[in-house]
Amino acid sequence: MARSELRILALVTEAFGGRGGIAQYNRDFLSALARCDRIGGVIVLPRFGSGSVNALPTGVQQLRPVESRNAYSLAAVWTAITHRPIDFVFCGHLRMAPLAAVICRVLNVPLWLQIHGVDVWHDLSALQHRALESATMVTSVSRHTRRRLLHWVGIDQARVKVLPNTVESQFQPGPKPGYLLERHAAGGKKVLMTVSRLSSLERYKGHDRVIRTLPRVLKQRPDTIYLIVGDGDDRPRLESLAVECGVTKNVLFTGSVPPEELPDYFRLADVFLMPSVAEGFGIVFLEAMATGIRVIGGSQDGSRDALCDGALGTLVDPENGEELASAIITALDDPTRTGDRTIRFKSNLFSEHLNALSQFFSEHSRRSLRERRTSQRGKVTVSVPNAFRSFANDQQCR
């Protein structure tokens, strides 16, 4: 008898118990996926993150992280075999796509691949090309990332969909928190802020561009401070730059902050800015806009999506210091705080869209499995998994 619910194997870098934007995205994605129509369960195999997670969403089972690359590959294959039946594989990072494609090939199940940004800024390896070509559907975090992917890979554009970040409910408008005003002596000052890791691999985020622009801003608004929230190996370079630009008193490095304080940090700021040139999407923009503060982003990358082409915030040419300074001053001069501007990115819409995408995926899976069977004619006879066939048939009947 055909099973009616689908079981999914999710290969991800990190999800529940992980940190950073991609982990957050995976958590939102997998939680929503487990709630989609006809999804019976999601088995998550992360590579990084905390081994013990207190609570998981209904329908999600997360296995222990396996950090070593080779061990992870073996663990993925072992999981795929021992947790059968698997109806499709979700792969949360392009680096893992070749492994996921092999598992899909062995199990004869379709592949759903997620891309984030920096993974497609440059041409891909031959194995990644093949994996992408074999994927039934690719979801991209932004239009910009999708465009970059399609520059490198000649796959049908209809198979590449956009599913942007969503924003958590703890990011809400509110007054500037007293304890942070005191901690950073920010009382009576205008606060610019950027939140991110300070990684030397992520210099595209534009902290240095803000620091270089600061002298121009301070000439007109001397009571401004720039709060850099986050830590990493690029911090010494930025500290030196602040010295070089003569703005050490106005640039404050907070280091890492506890996640529970992050909403308050956004509320402390008057303007959140990240004039990046290579952002995949920038979930921090959503978190900032959810707290009602003004936002400035770069106009040439995935930030455009977060700011909805300028409808929710100001887009600037990140390489144009004058334009950036002018945007900062304009934003500082407008003290009014808006309400939550991220209604269109709320999790209910994210979940509804993911549900529609899963239906689209199921329709196309059936076709691609049929094509694969045709291409394997004379080699091995394989059959479409029962649950999937039943699911696809049902979708067609709707």
Binding site: S140, D156, A158, R159, V162, A311, E352, A356, F360
Partner: protein, 615 residues
């Protein structure tokens, strides 16, 4: 014939439709539809349509577009003509449908409500339209079987935009101008941009004979509802049932007359382009047979050709006299070409090496007050008029065995493209590599540049473009399913590649720039269905059937005349025009024997090199 535009912000995070953008896209196409304009927006502002109208059927305001169904559930923006709309309308009225206008546009709305997407099988014509189905909350894009009418779309992942022209989409200012390497490489290899590619990554052509749905998850895969290759394959099975020569002539006349009659449906006068060839001459004869009393014909002539075999004017005038048309010979001069050149390049929607002839003949027709003209385009594809029908099979037979020897083709190509053989025709170097298969030999016959020459023309991303286009596989894909006879294979390739991407595209931009609708009775899916088994049996002899189809057949002088094509003296003009001399800096193009088309292609691809910062 019109210009259509539309935007559907399907993604939940997308901004609502920007009305100013719809208008920018629509009004870029003013020449396509100078007689009227319209726009429509859904209540939630997630969908917007624009339309520029060239009035040809039901000239009243009731025919304005975008047009909504009486119940408000369907909206269409439509470019083209449905030639059998009267029959369809009668059939729909018999089923209880009530019409408000005399247009073919309204027939589309009723037919869709009756049959849904399957309606496309009933349509005879050239068409491209966008139809909004409010109940399904989805957009349907449709393009005619041969791809006579263009339809381009750009899906950025949040919003899909469509229009009749690539440049119109760009005029909206929200579609990325990132170049598509496969489109540029295709242009260099074939002389036109092969669909679905365009020269912009984000803009795609909806493939000919296809439908495409866009719903809340975005674009679905295009679905093909008509295939030329499939039609020929089916026809090959039925060649034995087509009767003797007399039967075939009767069937040919009947089918051709039926097509011409349908193509004359209009509320304005329908004229005709007339050359010295069989195709246009026979069509004028059939127009007369179909009952058209007043026929305005027009021929373009060039001073440089006077008295030579390339001069079309004397024989065209004889044909016009034979069928009693009101005939005009329009002489084009070098000075006029020089004045028009900037306008030609501006109107050229995608880079191409042709279209100049259509530009001038359309201009002449419009000067005579015509809005619609019949053209004989498609006759050579249908009846085997090109040398390729003879040469490609010969090449394949000769090179099939050496072509199978591993690496031999690549080795000879490598040897023959070394510095010691610069004067060698580049195609000679590719003979062994490509000549042994139909796809390869056809590529050699129609190719403009060879793959190893392309990098010098467009520079960056050439390898990426070659990888993505994969020209031989692209051609092989057009031959799926593969007909068994060489005639049918070449007919499929000429119709699906050269005609579709080159002739039809050039005819569209060059005629619409003059607000002229060009109708093509020989490019018709129903005619192909009726005719393919006859041509499959007769091969290149089929053209005689066309020549003898009018009640008064064409004269032997026209029938026996060697094929010349419809040429212009552009080569000599090109060499004298100071504005287009960049090709002289490239040794292979400056060589005495270089074909003008290669030089012209180099000039037309200048924007790509400019973008690369190479000039």
């Amino acid at each position: 014939m019109c210009g259509i535009a539309g935007i559907y912000a399907y993604h939940y995070a997308a901004n609502a439709v920007d009305r100013a953008e719809v208008r920018r896209i629509r009004d870029y196409m003013a020449a396509r539809g100078p007689d009227g304009l319209g726009e429509w927006y859904s209540q939630d502002e997630r969908v917007g349509f624009g339309h520029r109208r060239l009035t040809i059927i039901d000239l009243s305001e009731r025919g304005a577009q975008p047009m909504m169904s009486a119940d408000g559930k369907l909206v269409v923006t439509f470019n083209g003509e449905i030639y059998n709309y009267r029959q369809l309308r009668a059939s729909l009225e018999a089923k209880g449908h009530r019409f408000r206008t005399q247009t073919d546009t309204e027939v589309l709305l009723h037919l869709y409500s009756q049959k849904g997407e399957a309606m496309v099988q009933d349509l005879r014509g050239m068409f491209a339209f966008g139809l909004w189905d409010a109940e399904k909350h989805a957009l349907l894009l449709v393009r005619d079987p041969y791809g006579i009418k263009p339809l381009y779309y750009a899906d950025d992942g949040w919003t899909v935009r469509f229009a009749s022209q690539v440049k119109a989409l760009l005029a909206g200012a929200k579609v990325s101008r990132d170049p598509e390497p496969a489109g540029w490489v295709g242009f260099c290899l074939f002389g036109s941009v092969p669909e679905p590619f365009t020269t912009y990554q984000d803009v795609l052509a909806l493939p000919a004979g296809s439908t495409l749905w866009v719903d809340r998850v975005g674009t679905h895969e295009a679905k093909q509802y008509f295939s030329i290759a499939d039609t020929y394959c089916r026809a090959e099975v039925t060649t034995s049932a087509i009767g003797n020569k007399a039967d075939q002539q009767d069937r040919a006349r009947e089918a051709l007359l039926d097509s011409v009659r349908d193509h004359l449906v209009a509320d304005v006068p329908v004229g005709a382009f007339l050359s010295s060839g069989i195709d246009s001459g026979a069509l004028v004869g059939l127009m007369r047979d179909a009952g058209q009393q007043q026929i305005q014909t027009v021929t373009v002539a060039f001073e440089e050709f006077r008295g030579s075999s390339e001069d079309e004017a004397p024989i065209a005038a004889e044909v016009a006299s034979r069928y009693g048309t009101r005939h005009t010979t329009r002489v084009v001069t070098e000075q006029e070409f020089q004045i028009d050149l900037p306008k030609i390049l501006e109107a050229m929607d995608q880079p191409t090496i042709d279209g100049l002839n259509t530009w001038f003949v359309s201009k002449a027709a419009r000067e005579l007050g015509l809005k619609v003209a019949i053209s004989g385009l498609g006759g050579d594809e249908l009846f085997g008029g090109y040398p390729s029908f003879r040469e490609v099979p010969l090449c394949v037979r000769a090179l099939a065995i050496p072509g199978r020897i591993p690496a031999l083709g690549d080795l000879t190509r490598w040897l023959l493209t070394r510095d010691f053989s610069p004067s060698l025709n580049p195609k000679a170097a590719g003979l062994l590599k490509y000549g042994g298969s139909y796809a390869g030999a056809y590529f050699l016959r129609r190719g403009l540049f060879m793959p190893w020459e392309v990098e010098a023309l467009i520079g960056a991303d050439t390898r990426l473009g070659l990888r993505r286009l994969n020209p031989i596989r692209y051609i092989e894909g057009l031959l799926e399913p593969k007909p068994s006879s060489s005639f049918c294979r070449i007919a499929v390739l000429e119709s699906s590649l050269y005609m579709r991407n080159q002739l039809l595209r050039d005819t569209d931009w060059a005629s619409m720039a003059h607000s002229l609708e060009v109708r093509l009775p020989l490019v018709d899916s129903r005619l192909l269905n009726q005719f393919a088994s006859i041509t499959a049996r007769n091969g290149s002899q089929s053209k005689r059937l066309l020549a003898h189809s009018p009640r008064v057949p064409l004269s032997p002088k026209v029938i026996e005349r060697p094929k010349t094509g419809f040429t212009t003296p552009i080569q000599s003009w090109l060499q004298r025009d100071n504005r287009i001399q960049e090709w002289r800096q490239v040794p292979s193009l400056a060589a005495y024997k270089c074909a003008w088309a290669r030089r012209w292609a180099f000039e037309v691809s200048a924007p790509r090199r400019e973008r690369n910062g190479e000039i």
